[in-house]
């Protein structure tokens, strides 16, 4: 198990407003879920997940809110571990990307990453009847963007391998390992013919693959042109 702790310095000053707001909204929605589960019963919670989670088979049969659930599902989570790990990854990597895009653009990019994840799920598992929930697709987009923008950046990571360790791993190794893990799970699912893992691997991969090229559309002008200028200067 590994948990990223610190992904490096930001270039622009300012508080990561969009990242913070997304985290807050996720936490508030999860609090609502907890209320549903413990206050109104597990059936109420299940009904809410079915209504607002992204269910590919419902989209195919044109039932329910369909496209809207592609957005709402990004803010639902199944258990404390699910939301914890998602928010940790978002809080570590999100501000770095928001720093280079700006807050509004980051929010749009984050949302688009989540939509790409849902789109790949729809393409590869159109018959899936279980609702997909979680911010994993959007966060995978953020990870993809980070790998594209900071491939060599060293990330302070907590690794539990018999004893706890805190190495500084390069982003390409850390995120590359994660992508490899997802690809292997995807291959296993394809071979098995069904997703028995409970992991939204298509959402992860869709968001990640979408995040790599899409972040370019949202970068600040200063970043785009400074990078180009810096690249030209290095070549010169």
């Amino acid at each position: 198990m590994f948990i990223p702790l610190n992904a490096g310095r930001r270039e622009y000053t300012g508080f990561p407003v969009a990242t913070a707001l997304i985290v807050v909204v996720n936490v508030l929605v999860y609090a609502w879920e907890v209320y549903l589960f413990f206050g109104l019963g597990s059936e109420a919670w299940i009904a809410a997940m079915r209504k607002w989670g992204f269910t590919p088979s419902s989209v195919i049969t044109q039932e329910g809110w369909r496209g809207l659930t592609a957005f709402t599902s990004m803010y639902l989570h199944g258990d404390p571990g699910h939301i914890f790990f998602n928010m940790v990854f978002l809080w570590v990597f999100g501000p770095q990307i928001e720093d280079l895009t700006g807050s509004w653009q980051f929010f749009l990019f984050y949302t688009l990453g989540g939509l790409m994840g849902n789109a790949l799920t729809l393409l590869f598992a159109p018959q899936e009847a279980l609702p997909g929930i979680g911010a994993s697709g959007a966060i995978a987009g953020v990870l993809g963007a980070y790998l594209f923008l900071y491939p060599g950046q060293r990330v302070r990571t907590f690794v539990l391998f018999i004893i706890p360790l805190f190495p500084r791993l390069p982003a390409w190794a850390l995120l590359g390992f994660w992508v490899l893990e997802q690809a292997i799970v995807a291959q296993i699912i394809l071979l098995a013919g069904q997703n028995f893992t409970g992991i939204g691997v298509w959402t992860h991969l869709g968001g990640f693959v979408g995040g790599v090229p899409l972040v370019y559309l949202f970068l600040r002008k200063e970043v785009v042109f400074n990078r180009e200028t810096a690249f030209r200067l290095r070549k010169a």
Binding site: I60, R66, T111, M116, F225, T229
Partner: protein
């Protein structure tokens, strides 16, 4: 006993009377003296004080004081009559030497002192110090404050006593009183450089710069490698423009073996102020190798390195240094200045950035994809199920995103200049209107795609 206007005075008198009745005359005397400091015209204070004294002349003086305040005071008259009978005053022609009341000798010089003395008449040193908590005068022979009970310590170990007292004063911000304690400590151990250094710090707190510098120089004479003294003097010499002394100090710093990082920083600061930039650069770079500094110190180092890189005409290195300065997030002026420098040093946006068609497309693509991917998900990629409203939404997203991108990202696109006046979209109002149209179109398109299909 009739009440006085001051409750503290009442309290002191009550305590004094209780001590007198209990036979503790020394304590009673001190309490009455303290009461008389508050109100020198207190008849009771003088009356009872007289009762605690053994010397007839002193008793007589107290009673005469009472009559001076209140000529009708019967107790004073009775007391004077009794004294005249039993202890007739000495003839005026041969005045007897004033005898001292029974008080301890001066703890400093062992000279005879009066119980009323606050400072020794022979050596001039304090015989009592104000309590740091209640500011009541505590004689040196007392181990605790008679008023509030604060433990003062035993003056038979004067260094510990004064150390404790000085720290207590400083904790309360009473630097003037703490100075006296520090001066005595330095007097007791003049070869201890830390004593002089502490004096230097206290003088500095009191804005007595010359004395502060002199004390630091004494500390340095005693300990030529004293880091605190070197640091203090280094900054002062630079601030006061003492070139020769600064140069001598720099030599001393350079010759130090195993120079601690903070002194390396001092060396860097001095060399920077002297505009000896190569030496400053070496010192700062060395200091950064072992980063043992807080955020403000790190910010200052990076900022100064940036300034030196600018002098050396290396803007990229300067940019990196200023960015490192900003990254410390220290709340100092240098960080704000560094941010300003970064804005100045960043390569300017090329003109094409604000009018390039590619840049417009880049700005359009994000909102457009958002609408189209939403639409695709809404219909489950079954494009035969696109409805008319949905199709309108998909198509309306194009001009909407174009308008928004043009207004926000590339306001100098040529086609707008003639349409919206001589300055085109650079007019703030025109830009806002076009941005509003664009964003409204996008919202409508998004709604049609999401709810119309």
């Amino acid at each position: 006993m009739p009440a006085n206007a001051d409750p503290e005075l009442d309290s002191l008198l009550e305590q004094g009377i209780a001590a007198s009745k209990a036979g503790d005359m020394a304590r009673a005397r001190r309490l009455f003296i303290a009461a008389l400091r508050i109100d020198p015209r207190s008849e009771q204070g003088w009356l009872w004080l007289g009762g605690t004294l053994t010397d007839p002349d002193e008793r007589r003086a107290c009673l005469e004081k009472v009559l001076a305040i209140n000529p009708a005071n019967g107790y004073a008259r009775e007391g004077l009559r009794w004294l005249a009978e039993h202890f007739p005053p000495a003839p005026a022609a041969a005045p007897s030497p004033r005898s001292k009341s029974a008080a301890s000798p001066c703890p400093w010089c062992r000279a005879e002192i009066s119980s009323l003395d606050v400072k020794c008449p022979v050596c001039g040193r304090h015989l009592e110090f104000d309590c740091p908590d209640c500011e009541y005068g505590v004689p040196l022979e007392e181990t605790q404050c008679p008023k509030c009970g604060r433990v003062a310590g035993d003056f038979r170990q004067p260094e510990a006593y004064l150390q404790n007292l000085g720290e207590a004063y400083f904790a309360k911000g009473q630097f003037n009183k703490g100075l006296a304690a520090c001066l005595y400590l330095a007097e007791l151990d003049p070869q201890n450089p830390q004593r002089h250094l502490r004096l230097s710090q206290v003088y500095s707190q009191l804005n007595r710069t010359e004395e502060s510098v002199a004390a630091a120089e004494r500390a340095l004479e005693l300990d030529p490698a004293n880091a605190d003294a070197l640091e203090r003097l280094g900054y002062w010499y630079v601030k006061r423009g003492l070139t020769d002394k600064t140069a001598a100090l720099v030599d001393r710093l350079n010759m130090l073996e195993a120079r601690p990082p903070r002194l390396t920083l001092v060396l860097g600061d001095i060399e920077f102020e002297r505009r000896q930039y190569p030496a400053a650069f070496r010192a700062y770079s060395q200091a950064l190798v072992t980063p043992d500094f807080d955020a403000p110190a790190l910010a200052r180092i990076h900022y100064r390195l940036g300034e030196m890189y600018l002098v050396a005409e290396d803007p990229m290195a300067a940019l990196r240094s200023f960015q490192a300065c900003v990254a410390t997030r220290a709340d100092i002026l240098e960080v704000q200045e560094a941010q300003r420098r970064i804005e100045q040093l960043r390569p300017p946006l090329p003109p094409g950035a604000l009018r390039s068609g590619v840049e417009t497309l880049r700005a359009m693509a994000g909102p457009l994809l958002l609408v189209w991917v939403t639409g695709a998900l809404e219909i489950g990629f079954r494009f035969q199920q696109i409805t008319m409203p949905g199709l309108v939404g998909l198509l309306a997203a194009v001009p909407g995103s174009y308008l928004l991108a043009s207004a926000v990202s590339t306001p100098l696109r040529w086609e707008w200049r003639t349409l919206l006046g001589p300055k085109g979209l650079t007019q703030p109002a025109a830009r806002k209107i076009v941005a509003l149209f664009g964003s409204s179109s996008l919202i409508i398109a998004f709604s049609l795609v999401l709810f119309g299909m």
